[in-house]
């Protein structure tokens, strides 16, 4: 079937690449200082390490500043329309399971206009890697509030503050049955690369929220937690199998509390009371509870992989059905199809 379309070259003999191989000749058009640059760099530096073929890699995006991403990656790519990238990527990934399909978009793109496609791609567990660059603002349209902007946010379209409660993207993804959910931020390249690698390796849909600074319309939105000097106390590293602990001296931790979780001082509760992180827990409740620790970037915020479970991937199931029908019916025979209803001969 699809194989007949595919050019030569299996995974075994991937020629090594360098960062330069993944860069295009297009002038990068983000504002100077935009967080998008560091995300691009992190990924361009990571790709050679993943040992993948450029021609087998596709970036699909919607519209927005973030969505310019594909133009800068020397792979196949489609800069599509606002919000629809998860749907387009779904078709591509289902049609071509041999490809690595990445989806890039902003908070407006994927949680507002494209929210429906995002949750269904996650629910179906389509084999795509979704990177949501969350700057809590509409960048490309010059600064309106977005579905992740905090309530009361003053913007051009909300001169005396927005009225709506924002989405927490990680909570949304977990609620949408995502099998892989992680968060990282644009000021920590190593962390981004680690998370992107995990997303790449995960079979099925991977969802990564990247806190991204829009220095023009929402500067410093995440500074309170991501800046180097506050990071230790404000970011909670999620490490698989380890008690969840943070703070410059490891003085804080996360413990179960009242059906959810809360931040505690280790001195008060003891190390044994700390929650041991298990991203593979089949029940998503604890991961969800972790995502509720901070609904704004002014409280300690978990970073890393919230959830990573193995769950059947849609494309594999879909192709298995094709094979199943092919096996039970034998060779596809168009003539037999046309004669499958009662016929008569004149």
């Amino acid at each position: 079937m699809t194989d007949t379309l595919l050019p030569e070259g299996g995974p075994g003999d991937v020629p090594p690449t360098t960062r330069a191989d993944w860069q295009t000749d297009q002038e990068v058009r983000w504002c100077p200082g935009c967080g998008d640059y560091s995300i691009l760099t992190a990924l361009q530096l990571l790709m050679p390490d993943l040992g993948v073929r450029r021609e087998k890699t596709v970036f699909v995006s919607g519209i927005g500043c973030a969505a310019r991403f594909p133009y800068y990656m020397d792979t196949y790519g489609m800069h599509s329309i606002h919000g629809r990238a998860p749907a387009i990527a779904t078709g591509l990934a289902l049609a071509r399971p041999d490809l690595d399909v990445w989806v890039v978009g902003g908070d407006g793109d994927m949680l507002s206009i494209g929210g429906n496609h995002l949750i269904h791609a996650l629910r179906r567990n389509i084999d795509i890697n979704i990177l949501l660059f969350n700057n809590q603002i509409y960048g490309l349209t010059k600064g309106q509030f977005s579905p992740t902007s905090e309530k009361g946010k003053v913007t051009k379209s909300s001169p005396i503050g927005s009225c709506a409660t924002p989405f927490n993207p990680v909570s949304v993804a977990i609620g949408a049955e995502a099998s892989f959910v992680a968060r990282t931020h644009d000021l920590d390249r190593r962390h981004m690369q680690e998370i992107f690698r995990r997303a790449y390796e995960h079979p099925g849909a991977s969802f990564v929220e990247v806190y991204q600074n829009c220095n023009v319309f929402n500067d410093g939105a995440f500074e309170t937690i991501t800046k180097k000097d506050v990071r230790d106390d404000m970011l909670i590293p999620l490490v698989q199998g380890e008690p969840i602990r943070f703070g410059s001296d490891g003085q804080f931790g996360v413990a179960r509390h009242d059906g959810g979780v809360r931040v505690v001082e280790v001195a008060d509760v003891g190390v044994d009371a700390l929650l041991v992180h298990d991203e593979a827990r089949p029940d998503p409740s604890t991961s969800f509870a972790l995502s509720r620790l901070a609904d704004r970037p002014d409280r300690p915020t978990p970073m890393g992989v919230y959830r990573a479970v193995d769950r059947g991937e849609y494309g594999a199931a879909m192709h298995a059905q094709v094979d199943q029908m092919a096996d039970s019916r034998g060779k596809a025979d168009l003539k037999a199809l046309l004669h499958s209803l009662p016929t008569w001969t004149v």
């Binding site: 030569e8 021609e55 599509s80 092919a326 060779k331 596809a332 016929t343 004149v346």
Partner: protein, 622 residues
């Protein structure tokens, strides 16, 4: 040909129109369908018109719950489900009330007399029993206690009374099979195959069918008996096909002919869902069906698959096309193959979801932002849906463009005998993915330009996975050739012109004039009006008057000779199931005084209606 409906039951020589009507739960679609199948195997030409209520389970016994199935059988070639039924089968008072008006004067009404009880009469809005009053004086009434006779026939089978009652549609079918001399075997065989393993149901349905047949024989209904002989049809093997099945098979065939896997992205909507259902059953042809979360995702996934080198298809009805518009515009910009199928229904909004209309032509032509032309073609008969599905795919692949294929609710559900094509005679569809560089840069290195066009103005289709040809495409305007994003005004003007020209240049067959080329009056049609127009033109010409007919399959681009053809006629009438959309296009394109003949009642034109209009136009002088 004379129309002597009042004396004989057969206005078109050797033809008969029967309408089965009952409550949604009465199984009238099934009865009609089986009658049709038996008639097809018997060798009649035929055409059907199923009509469903919009509600799945409208309150039983009400007018809203009436479901009807009309079939026209004939001993010669016919083109429509008929002007008006000669026979009405009414399973309850609501069916009689809703459908009686369609029957010809002097026609036969066969009623299930058991259903005419006070409660049902009230539900249907009768304040009296029409079987007793003078309501039916103009008709030949045949009262049959179908429910009780069915129960009686099943009583020794061990079937529950309620289940036995359900078989009354087979009783009606048996009765009609006797009255109109249909063969029995196909129905018996069908019952046995369909309900295999459910012996009680088989027994009940067979008993009911046989009882209906015997009732005709014993109840002295012989003066109602009519024979419609087999029609003379071109030699070959036939099957009875409806438009949606033919369209689905055409898409399967297009996949086979192009060698591309078919990817259908679709979201359920009446009357298009059956294409999704049918294609879901044929995965062995390398057909993937994806039921998306909405129409936007449906077309998006199809476009994604097309980018990956599959035959991307999306099927829907008008409301769905409205949602897909932005993505179709993207496909115009990306210049990727994509087939969009619109099974039109009554609009705007939810409109008449189960009724037919063809009012999406202008949406197909212009319903996108920006200058975004695409080819539009329309099927004319149920069987033609097969050919046009292949044609849509061929144009899409050959010219790297989204193509809109129009059908409608009438074609979708109505059926006709189809002379099956020889599979080996179907033309292969060449694909030709790009496999290497097509340009050199200033340093003399090979590069790939995604928008470098060939002599047909077609750009290369380089699918992901192809080494060296990595490139980015998108909805932003591109520089012609290199495909790089370009905000340059002059380039945009050039690209707008290129997109227009490359579609306008797609060669399509010349328009063919049927009928009298030297007539004054030309009827121009598109889509499913073909049957009614063809039947009408034949009648008028048989009556000694001159009239010509041009039917358009290709609506964009229009046939190159069309302007010249139109200029030969002083009167141009355009029957359409809308308020005159093709009329606007013809006036716009050719500055001709084309005039609309509109029908937007949710039902197709009948030849009688068109005949009336055209004869009125021709006037009395011969």
């Amino acid at each position: 040909m004379t129309e002597t409906a009042a004396e004989s039951l057969v206005p078109e020589v050797g033809g008969l129109v029967i309408r089965f009507a009952g409550d949604s739960g009465d199984g009238m679609q099934l009865a009609g369908d089986r009658f049709t199948s038996a008639s097809a195997l018997f060798g009649n030409d035929l055409s059907t018109l199923p009509e469903f209520p919009a509600e799945i389970r409208a309150p039983a016994g009400t007018l809203a719950g009436v479901s009807a199935f009309q079939v026209h059988i004939s001993d010669h070639d016919i083109f429509t489900p008929g002007d008006a039924p000669h026979v009405l089968v009414a399973m309850n008072p609501a069916a009689l009330r809703a459908e009686l008006g369609t029957l010809i004067d002097g026609g036969t009404v066969i009623v299930n007399a058991d259903a005419f009880v006070e409660r049902n009469l009230a539900k249907a809005g009768y304040d009296h029993d029409p079987l007793e009053g003078d309501d039916l004086d103009a008709y030949r009434l045949v009262r049959v206690p179908m429910t009780s006779l069915t129960k009686e026939a099943c009583k020794d089978l061990g079937v529950k009374t309620r289940d036995a009652e359900r078989s009354k549609n087979f009783f009606a079918l048996g009765l009609l099979s006797w009255m109109y001399s249909r063969p029995i075997e196909p129905t018996i065989e069908w019952i046995e195959a369909k309900f295999k393993g459910r012996d009680l149901i088989i027994a009940a349905n067979k008993a009911a069918f046989n009882a209906g047949h015997a009732f005709g024989e014993t109840a002295e209904l012989s003066d109602h008996q009519v024979v419609v002989r087999p029609a003379e049809m071109p030699a070959g093997t036939y099957t009875n096909i409806n438009g949606n099945t033919a369209l689905a098979w055409g898409l399967v065939a297009a996949g086979q002919l192009s060698g591309l896997p078919v990817f259908l992205g679709s979201y359920p909507i009446t009357p298009a869902s059956d294409i999704l259902h049918e294609l879901s059953r044929h995965k062995e042809f390398d057909v993937a069906t994806f039921q998306a979360e909405d129409e936007i995702a449906a077309v998006g996934s199809a476009l994604g698959a097309a980018y990956g080198g599959h035959l991307g298809v999306t099927t829907t009805s008008g409301p769905g096309v409205a949602l897909k518009a932005e993505t179709i515009g993207l496909a115009v910009s990306l210049e990727l193959p994509l087939v969009i199928v619109n099974i039109q229904r009554g609009g705007p909004s939810t409109g008449l979801p189960t009724k037919t209309e063809a009012a999406d032509l202008l949406m197909a032509m212009y319903g996108r932002h920006g200058e975004s032309p695409l080819p539009v073609i329309a099927a004319r008969t149920p069987a033609d849906c097969f050919d046009q599905a292949i044609e849509a795919a061929r144009i899409a692949i050959e010219y790297r463009t989204p193509v809109m294929l129009l059908s409608d609710g009438y074609l979708a559900n109505s059926s006709e005998p189809w002379l099956l094509p020889e599979v080996d005679d179907l033309e292969p569809i060449p694909v030709g993915f790009a496999s290497g560089f097509n340009q050199v840069d200033e340093d003399g290195n090979g590069v790939f330009w995604p928008y470098l066009r060939d002599e047909k103005m077609v750009r290369p289709w380089a699918i992901p996975g192809t080494p060296d040809l990595m490139h980015r495409i998108g909805g932003l305007e591109k520089e012609d050739g290199s495909g790089n994003v370009s905000y340059d005004g002059a380039n945009h003007a050039h690209m707008v012109a290129v997109r227009a020209e490359r579609i306008a240049r797609i060669p399509v067959p010349d328009a063919e004039v049927c009928g009298d080329a030297d007539a004054d009056l030309l009827v121009v049609g598109w889509g499913s009006t073909w049957g009614a127009i063809t039947a009408t033109v034949r009648r008028i010409r048989n009556g000694g008057r001159k009239v010509a007919h041009v039917h358009l399959t290709y609506l964009n681009p229009l046939p190159a000779n069309l302007g010249e053809v139109l200029s030969d006629f002083s009167t141009i009438l355009v029957p359409e199931m809308n308020l005159g959309q093709l009329v606007r296009m013809l006036r716009d394109e050719y500055l001709v005084d084309a005039r609309p003949v509109s029908k937007v009642t949710g039902q197709p034109f009948t030849p009688a209606e068109l005949q009336h209009v055209i004869l009125g136009e021709l006037g009395d002088d011969a």
